[in-house]
Amino acid sequence: MSAPVHVALEMDQSWRYAAPAAMARFCAGLKERRIEALRCGGCGRRYLPPRPVCGNCHLPLADWVPVADEGRLEAWTVVHVPILDPRTGRMREAPYGMGLVRLDGADTTLNHFLAQSDPARLAIGQRVRAVWREQLAGAIDDIRHFEVLA
């Protein structure tokens, strides 16, 4: 039995991902600090992120409704383990806060970073507000993170 040998192969592939039309409109809105959700004509559920159909009713979505950049913290955690960011190939530094935020006007929640990373200062039910970046690129990380309102 010889010593185990390994074969190292580096994946470096890129993909051109087309955004669904609804996502493209949503991202254009972010550039103007505007958040919109799509409401299902069947069940009335207001979806973030926007998508082609409501999965529960299998109905196409077309009814846009405005959503605030403030909402309620529905779930939270503080992540302590760095992970390899697939977009940069570098480790994302820890610790950082993560939350599920139900923005006023939406029925689904948005997972995003939190400004706070101290468990003692985070609780379900807190009001939170988006902190926008100075330079807006039309992407979900135009929101730097959410901060807990006093």
């Binding site: 991902y17 529960n56 529905e74 955690t77 960011d85 697939p86 689904t108 979900i140």
Partner: protein, 384 residues
């Protein structure tokens, strides 16, 4: 559905890194053991199903390379890939293929070699416009749902730690299990490294290299091959909406697992799962998930899961032992993990569980969990 049974199982020794075996050799190790257990030859296999998540190892169509290791060369073979449920869904695919009348014997093999890639990064390769920018891997995502579940049910960190201890204590009786920590204590779990509040290192499943196989046979063949075939009484699958934020209070509601279990129990004629099931092998990637699944699977009322673990109901020797194998908390090669649940449930009915055998098992449950809330439920029994 036509009568179908599991007549043989086989798995590899699972470990953090199986440097001694290639992916193909790992698959062969499990497949050969399953054939030996079922006392069949490679030529007896009519078709093969492979379960694996390709991006974890960076392979496209991995069945092309490893298929012949599963004795599939010159035979029908396809791959099933549905995240964490790949293994259970692969088993259900094999069950359907036999029940269709096309085949008498189908071999299902699930495998993963996490040591060869970057699984946490692989898991973030989801929606490029949404999830990828704010990804935190499986641990962070699970922790979010745990915070909701704890707030709603009053579950304590200590109760979750008891689940983690039970899993590792059971694993110590399973020679194949990855983590071997027979003397682990609740205090050690609570003192382990924080990963994502409130989850600690010992609340989480490991990442394992490993493979597991089952032999699925038609009714007539099953009776000849095994004195106690594990008959498939029912199998159900439910998938869910794509984003974590779509799912209302995920762990507390878990409508997919509830609905899959309801369908499987109805198909198997089970009214009271706690009393009528003799053993359960459930896919619990996190200690807290096992508690949430107790409720979704109807083992107890909502909010009573903590009591179940405190009173030892799900311990070996309890009313309904859960995960005598040590579960996913002790061994987690993702594509194999679901197959392991089914294999371990079948093993209990075969009466070949060795030191982890529960006495007098006639009815067993196996479940799968994947992506944010996909679920499989399979009921096996000693009678068709």
């Amino acid at each position: 559905m036509n009568p179908v049974a599991i007549v043989g199982t086989g798995q590899t020794r699972h470990a953090r890194a199986r440097d001694d075996a290639s992916q193909a050799e790992l698959v062969r190790e499990a497949a050969a053991r399953a054939l030996e257990d079922a006392a069949i030859e490679p030529r007896d296999i009519d078709a093969v199903v492979i379960a694996n998540m390709e991006l974890f190892e960076g392979r496209a169509w991995p069945e092309l390379w490893v298929g012949e290791a599963a004795f599939a060369a010159g035979k029908p073979c396809v791959k099933v890939a549905t995240g964490g449920t790949s293994g259970t869904s692969g088993c259900i695919a094999g069950i359907h293929q036999v029940a269709s009348g096309l085949f008498d014997i189908v071999l299902v093999v699930g495998f993963e070699k996490h040591s060869e890639g970057h699984t946490q990064t692989g898991m973030t390769l989801t929606d490029p416009y949404w999830d990828r920018a704010v990804a935190s891997g499986a641990v962070g995502n699970f922790a979010l749902s745990v915070s909701q579940y704890m707030a709603e049910r009053g579950t304590t960190e200590r109760q979750a730690a008891q689940v983690a201890v039970k899993a590792r204590r059971n694993a110590a009786r399973n020679p194949y299990a990855h983590l071997q920590m027979p003397a682990l204590t609740v205090e050690e779990v609570l003192a382990s490294k924080p990963l994502a509040h409130p989850l600690r290192m010992l609340d989480m499943c490991p990442q394992s290299d490993g493979a597991c196989a089952i032999v699925v046979a038609s009714g007539t063949r099953a009776r000849k091959l095994n004195p106690r075939p594990a008959w498939v009484r029912a199998a159900a699958t439910r998938h869910e909406q794509p984003f974590i934020g779509d799912i209302e209070r995920r762990l507390a509601t878990m409508r997919t697992l509830r609905e899959a279990a309801r369908e499987a129990y109805a198909g198997a004629g089970i009214g009271n799962p706690l009393k009528e099931l003799d053993v359960a092998e459930i896919y619990e990637p996190v200690s807290y998930a096992e508690l949430a699944w107790y409720e979704a699977l109807g083992f107890c009322e909502e909010g009573q899961a903590g009591r179940l673990i405190e009173e030892g109901v799900t311990e070996m020797g309890g009313e309904l032992p859960v995960n005598p194998s040590g579960g996913v908390l002790s061994t987690n090669p993702v594509g194999a993990s679901g197959v392991i649940r089914v294999a371990e449930a079948a093993l209990q009915i075969h009466g070949r569980g060795g030191e982890r055998q529960v006495d007098g098992v006639r009815t067993a449950l196996a479940t799968g969990y994947g992506v944010y809330a996909w679920a499989d439920a399979i009921v096996l029994a000693d009678r068709p």
